[in-house]
């Protein structure tokens, strides 16, 4: 049973065709990959997330999905700084430090699509004053946005 119906998939596919620029890679981290689904909510949401990401990646040749296990792909997880799952790194050839923790369902599915497009375009439309502030940042800024899939 797919998450996206045909109409939604066609809409997203068209948007990707029109707006994607650079290739985007989704690095997905589950508790374990392939075959072994751990019981409990964490295992279920991870599996649903994997399915959602698989469907999204199928909608454009420019979107690639790599599935990792936090348990058996520890080095990869450390490289991307992943300690909690399910987690998805959304990157192009550049890792901008963007991570999605949890299942991108409901309204957050739209968030996932927008982030994919932002990463792909790599030319965010921001005000000049914003760019000025970003240029003057002294320290790093780690932003955490808490959301719910309502």
């Amino acid at each position: 049973m797919p998450f996206l119906n045909d109409q939604d998939a066609a809409f997203v596919r068209k948007r990707f065709d029109q707006e994607l620029h650079d290739d985007v890679t989704l690095e997905f981290f589950a508790p374990s990959a392939g075959g072994l689904t751990l019981p409990g909510q964490d295992g279920e949401t991870a599996e649903y997330t994997r399915q959602i990401l698989t469907e999204v990646a199928a909608l454009s040749p420019k979107i690639h999905l790599n599935v990792h296990s936090l348990i058996s792909d520890r080095e990869v997880a450390e490289r991307f700084g992943i300690a909690r799952t399910p987690a998805t790194v959304i990157r192009s050839d550049t890792d901008f430090g963007i991570r999605f923790y949890g299942m991108p369902a409901g309204y957050e599915f739209a968030t996932l699509l927008e982030v994919i497009l932002d990463v792909s375009k790599a030319a965010p439309s921001l005000a000049d004053s914003t760019r000025d502030v970003l240029g003057r940042l002294k320290d790093e800024a780690h932003i955490q946005v808490f959301v719910t899939p309502t």
Binding site: I98, Y101, V115, V119, L126, V133, I143, Q144
Partner: protein
Amino acid sequence: MAALLAVASPRVSADIVEASEFPEMAERYNVYAVPKVVVNETTEFVGAQPEPQFVGYVAQAAGLQEGPAGAQ
């Protein structure tokens, strides 16, 4: 907005977190309403913010004395 800033600046990183799936994090950061944004563990605000205000909070958290005009 957080993702846009992360793309625009190598100093900015962004985590989007489903609070219902990570209750220990929601409790740690006192997440009762969403969206809630926490920057560098110290600066936080609730609700969607216009770009200048959002950036102002990020600037404060990252050591700038002041953000764009209009930010608190």
